[in-house]
Symmetry: C2
């Protein structure tokens, strides 16, 4: 262990007995803060991963569904807090959290208690068509859950079933509003030509309006959202796509303070790309109605940009009357040190749409009253979201507030970032590159030298009991739960040090 | 009451004390067969609908979401079996069932007991990313649920979040398989040009392959599924669509036995339209990769076609190597007197894909091993379905089997059809037109003279305590639950008679 790291933390076996004080700001909790009964450390029992039982179960499932994407077969009944247990009894510290989709830990008592409530049972077992037969307690439930955390300026809500659906729902609402404006405002009616031509998927009823996204962006895998997604070819190839443009996202270099001028230039170039694309496509007769973006491009490789960049983007979208959709499916619900990542931008005018899913369990989008469709039944479907997931969202939001998880995440994020920074020096040059996320809570990432070494790193971390995720070409992304503490960070850092020294 | 109807049933107040024997096949149960404790009849307490409490609750919700599609605000805690109670305490006999999405009744004891099981609680509160971290009991659960009812010949399963997602998932799989075949079969690899061009949404990586659907068809409201949907302009207008063709669906006339020759002609014309469209588009360089269809076009107006038509369609799709996707989102899970409506066709070769949602609670699609993508991660997303809904599907399937609900539906369907037939004569000519569904269980429909009179009929039925749904321009669709019995049918018929005589 390097001197630097030794200063920063103690080995895992010691964390239950010592409170280390490296400095005031980096005090480590002696015990996990939120789950008194979670394991003290990872424990791998099997000589290989997947273990024999997991392997057998995967093979059984592979009979009816491709199991090649299985990372492990989990036992959710014995998983606890930050620890995921597999079918062979191996216990992993989970820093990937079901692809960034677990907020407050496995088997959180507040969620287990929700499950036993009559309110939950009745809505789970009598699934309503929410748009037509909403439950009598619906307004109350929503007021205590999703509406309570509505992003500033966006007091309208539409719930859907998944992240892709949420993005497509927002995009549809953007197209509705754009055409309504073009048509002449709130009172303008559809022309008979519009109503007729749309039945044949032709103009003007099916407009050739355009939605724009950023290269490396990921917005889902359904037909509209996949046309916006630009992460990897394997996500897109062979699927018909809308002819919509994508623009270069800023390519920041790290550490940020060393590359200030270059990074500004990169952001300016991206902004210029956005404006030029809007103008070019307009010239072709195809207007850009919406721009969708992630506050941090996650699936595509954890690419960040500065608050100033996003503020400029908002100015640009307003100037050209392009609706701005902020896709917070992965960044939302606290992991960046804000409830919504876009809060960090301090926008003067809120985005037009903010979409969510994953950690929220419930999916959907927020918007402003101006983008509410003039006619009913336009954004509508049978279920319009899942009450079970919205009730879970309520509990998650309550726990986030009660336990001050946002400030906890900020605190742990700083600790984790600092640990990775130290590590990047101690393990030898080039093993941890482009460490990013200094200001974004535990939403951190770094690059391995190659795609292969990244995969090898993740694989060895897992063998050592730490479950992590990759993204983009050669990036390791940290996607811990909000209840991930410094003690967990310490285990992860120590394990990473061992693995990286060997690699 | 007409002599005909009087023969067929007794007034609702009598149903608890008498067993009527009109004929052997039309014996009415004295009591509801499945819910001993459900109300004996509808009961409307408020002088207007919606009642004051419901109105107030809708207004509260309208602040954050358009409430114009609300039909009633429901109290699911007091709803029971076939009876839906609203916020004002009105009890409706529910013949719409959350847009055809409730299979075995409100607050079914088997579902309530599922909700209390540890298995349910753990999977509900620890939501897995099923494609990468499946639960150790997943194979067992699926074997006892969705796999158990897999359509003949289709032993592969992909679960998703909603009906639209299910259709788009199947469509993606169809495009993958089509391009893989064009590329040269299982071993053929992507060209670098494909991998590059798809990142820009351009050919050849984003192919200009075509998916075909039928006019009046409904397949969902996301961007791909909405391009296939041809139900109503309000569903489609202002949303960019793929340039894909739609073909005329057969326009059958009723009663079928009177219009045999004409109907055959209409079906032949539709088949010719399908083949011509495939050939025409091929000439334009745009190959039809998939044809999607509903066994009964539901949302678009409850349009039927004969088993012979669908068999011919299967022959045509095989001849032209077009994948056939059967959208059983609304027809699946028993309501047509078969578990899957397409079983009635007796196909020699099964369809390529069968999609489901609604009554199943879980959504997804079945397919054959040949359409399993060669590469992993192609049909993949974070959640890949909801374990809560799949567990509910298991219970629903168990109850369907245990209670012989399919044969019950057939029996009640015959009774209901016969009652409507009698009614159509007794209430005066032209009020019940094109009664259809003689062979399709309780999946029945008829036309009102106009769109306005249809809406008025549904409205007055509701005021009399029977909740019903419309579809298409002027159609009334019956979408009762599988536990709907003859006693319920009797109430519905009697109420309809009163309403129609007044109308």
């Amino acid at each position: 262990m390097s001197a630097g790291l030794r200063q920063l933390y103690r080995p895992a076996r010691a964390i239950n007995t010592h409170v280390l004080r490296i400095s005031r700001s980096y005090a480590i909790e002696a015990k996990p803060k939120f789950f008194a009964d979670e394991p003290a450390a990872p424990h791998i029992k099997t000589s290989k991963l997947p273990g024999p039982k997991s392997k057998e179960l995967s093979a059984e499932m592979n009979v009816w569904q491709d199991a090649r994407a299985h990372q492990l077969v989990a036992d959710y009944s014995t998983s606890k807090g930050n620890y995921l247990q597999d079918a062979d009894g191996n216990k992993f510290l989970d820093v990937f959290a079901q692809i960034a989709s677990i907020a407050i830990g496995y088997n959180h008592p507040a969620l287990l208690s929700l499950a036993k409530s009559n309110e939950f049972i009745q809505l789970a077992m009598n699934r309503p068509a929410l748009g037509s037969f909403p439950p009598s307690n619906w307004n109350k439930i929503l007021s205590e859950s999703l509406l309570k955390v509505a992003p500033k300026g966006l007091d309208q809500l539409f719930t859907m079933m998944c992240g892709s659906c949420a993005n497509e729902g927002a995009l549809k609402a953007a197209f509705f509003a754009y055409r309504q404006r073009e048509r002449g405002g709130q009172l303008a009616e559809f022309s008979s030509e519009e109503l007729k031509s749309c039945m044949n998927n032709q103009k003007p009823g099916s407009p050739d309006l355009v939605a724009m996204s950023f290269k490396s962006g990921f917005h889902g895998r359904l037909f509209g959202s996949l046309s916006l997604t630009r992460s990897k070819a394997i996500h897109k190839v062979d699927v018909p796509a809308f002819d919509w443009p994508a623009v270069e996202f800023p390519q920041l270099k790290y550490p940020l303070e060393e590359f200030e001028a270059e990074n500004k230039k990169s952001e300016a170039a991206s902004l210029q790309g956005v404006e030029e694309t809007i103008l070019e496509w307009k010239k072709k007769g195809r207007k850009v109605a919406a721009l969708i973006l992630e506050p941090i491009q996650s699936e595509g490789g954890d690419f960040h940009a500065s608050p100033a960049f996003f503020r400029a983007l908002r100015t640009l979208t307003l100037k050209h009357q392009v609706y701005m959709i902020v896709d917070e499916v992965q960044t939302g619900v606290g992991a960046t040190g804000h409830f919504w990542a876009h809060e960090a931008w301090n926008l003067d005018t809120p985005p037009d749409f903010v979409t969510f899913s994953k950690k929220m369990q419930a999916a959907g989008f927020y918007h402003a009253p101006e983008t509410r469709p003039v006619q009913p039944y336009r954004n509508y479907n049978t279920w319009m979201g899942a009450p079970t997931e919205i009730l879970k969202a309520r509990t998650i939001i309550e726990v986030v507030e009660r336990e001050n998880l946002i400030s906890h995440v900020k605190d742990v994020g700083r600790y984790l970032y600092s640990g990775l920074e130290t590590l990047s020096k101690s393990v030898g040059k080039g093993k941890i590159n482009n460490l990013r996320g200094k200001e974004t809570g535990t939403f951190l990432a770094f690059d391995s030298p190659t795609s292969k070494s990244r995969d090898e790193f993740i694989n060895r971390m897992k063998l050592a009991g730490v479950n992590m995720g990759g993204c983009g070409e050669q990036t390791v992304r940290l996607r811990p739960m909000l209840v991930f503490g410094k003690a967990h960070a310490q285990i992860m850092l120590e394990t990473a040090e061992k693995v990286l020294k060997d690699l």
